[in-house]
Point group: C2
Chain length 336, copies 2
DNA sequence: TTGTATGCGTTATCAT
DNA sequence: ATGATAACGCATACAA
């Protein structure tokens, strides 16, 4: 391994001079600096992030938290899109990414301890059980954090506009003549609560009454449970004309169940999803859904976290609302 | 931040003693060690991975390489499954995971340099363009590596059994009476070559001749290109009875195209996919495909890499073949 | 403009 | 059984 010491010897200067030259300090003679940089390149010098981190107390490494207990694992397209964009933006800004978890090997630690252990400059909390005290500890610690889809206290967060998304879907469906709607929702997180509230509020605003039994629970990303909820809905005395699914993947479970009953989409039943993952647009029929700006969310999360890390003094927590977009698809039939 | 110095003061012993006690050195009096450990816990001590890494030359951090140029980005379910299992196994063994890329912020570096910069103990190469000299440099460096789905020289790799997988699919289809097969394949990687060879070989063994035009190129994970290839196949003078798709997602593109021609699956056309991602099993009709053991592959990759890191002296490179499994699904009609 | 000295938190070597 | 000391590679305050 070639270190600044090697360069200093090769150049006949002190290590301090080399360090300064390499970091562009203003008090080094231009030609000395030039000579040093050339030697560094010639010798194949690479800075040692570990040593630097130890010295300056900054690792240029940010933690990413994905606790997949809430079904928000990496392998769900929505979250993997977020991960990918967090990664891209962080790297663009000179930061690496490390996963933060509970329990590393023999050591049992919580998220905060893990982040400290790795000297993370900050943590993006992409998917977590926000009831978990371990999350609260991390968020309320001195480590900068940005949460996605949940605002802790009034700290920095990136939010998908669930209220507007749901409203857009309801209105779209309404405009297509639908008056009897059913809504299958995921586990009771704050996201879910917002969607349910927006669903009800928009229905009310449009003069639609939602009969009992038309709002049913299921589990995010679990087609099976949405299939069961679909069956229950089909057994209702007054069958709805359009079913809202918790997410795009869950729609597939509903689709199977509808098929089993000989109900065609959208001929006999209209459906909408949520998320707008790429998959939803290659399915047949193309799904009517609301695209959450996953890439934008990941990008903003990384950007804001790093801004907070680099300017802690002037930092003001903020909640960013990411723009979404209705994808019309073809699973909603116009029955007007 | 509480350091071993704090503990040493609190206990009235030297820092060296604290370090030894915490690391379970044999030459510390049991009760001293006990007292030190208690104090450490009481003070909320956390080891500093950075300082330790600097001292011992081991970071307990492994790099993961996902260059998504070949369509192997994190957001493809096959790769995200691998990532998840690499992560889980690494963490179980006490290692963290950091993404390795080209170009970190202003610094332009290649994969090898990035891994060195972060002091990675090893790197899992999960998806990469193996023609890229930067990959070659990393693999032939002193840094331990494990590659997935590609063997570099005769170094350690985890391979999905493409030969057996393709053979299993062809035989399954054959047993269902199909004699006229078409195969749409992905970009010309070594994986693709193996699949094509196995397809041809198995066909030959079964006495099936594959007419010209029945083996067509497309792009992995790109439904559109598979749709185009499907169209071309449908225009052949002698239409096949079963189409093989490059992967499960690409099947969706084919499905759309078939639908457009009024061709029902599996009534009028049988199809098979490849990968066996969870998605394939929640689609209707349920896809006939070959499941690659993604979790197993990730787990093995992490395990072997860490074994190599921890026992460099006794290490022998090896190629592990991951077991797959045929998922019968319902997209192949028995026309026997 | 350059160099000296020191320390970041840890572990390893060698005395005691 | 315990402690003094040095070193990992780097950056910085201060002296020259």
């Amino acid at each position: 391994m070639v270190t600044i010491t090697d360069i200093s010897k090769a150049c006949g200067v002190s290590r301090a001079t080399v360090s300064k030259a390499l970091n562009g300090a203003p008090d080094i003679a231009p030609k000395t600096a030039e000579r040093i940089r050339e030697q560094a390149k010639a010798l194949g010098y690479l800075p040692n992030a570990t040593a630097r981190a130890l010295k300056v107390g900054r690792s240029y490494n940010i933690g990413v938290l994905f606790s997949d207990t809430t079904g928000g694992g990496i392998s769900h397209e929505y979250f993997s899109q977020i991960l990918e964009s967090v990664k891209a933006e962080a790297e663009r800004l000179g930061y690496d990414i490390t996963f933060i978890s509970k329990d590393l090997g023999a050591m049992s630690m919580d998220y905060y301890e893990h982040a400290k252990y790795r000297n993370c400059d900050g943590v993006v909390i992409a998917s977590a059980d926000f009831q978990d005290p371990a999350i609260a500890r991390l968020v309320t610690s001195e480590i900068p954090t940005v949460t996605l889809d949940y605002t802790f206290d009034s700290r920095t967060s990136i939010l998908s506009d669930n209220v507007r998304g749901m409203e857009a879907l309801v209105r779209f469906v309404y405009e297509n003549g639908h008056r009897k709607l059913a809504f299958i929702h995921g586990e009771m997180t704050s996201v879910t609560q917002k969607r349910i509230a927006s669903f009800k509020k928009t229905c009310a605003a449009l003069g639609i009454t939602v009969p009992p039994g038309c709002i049913r629970p299921a589990v995010y990303h679990d087609p099976r449970s949405s299939g069961l909820a679909t069956r229950a809905i089909l057994e209702l005395p007054e069958r709805p004309t359009c079913i809202f699914y918790p997410d795009d993947l869950s729609f597939l479970g509903g689709m199977s169940e509808l098929e089993r009953h000989g109900i065609a989409v959208p001929k006999d039943m209209s459906v909408v999803g949520y998320d707008g993952i790429p998959l939803s647009q290659v399915l047949r029929p193309k799904l009517t859904t609301y695209r959450q700006g996953a890439e934008q969310m990941g990008r903003e999360a990384a950007r804001l976290l790093i801004e907070q890390i680099e300017h802690p003094d002037t930092w003001l927590p903020q909640q960013v609302m990411a723009e979404g977009e209705l994808l019309p698809g073809s699973t909603v039939r116009n029955i007007g």
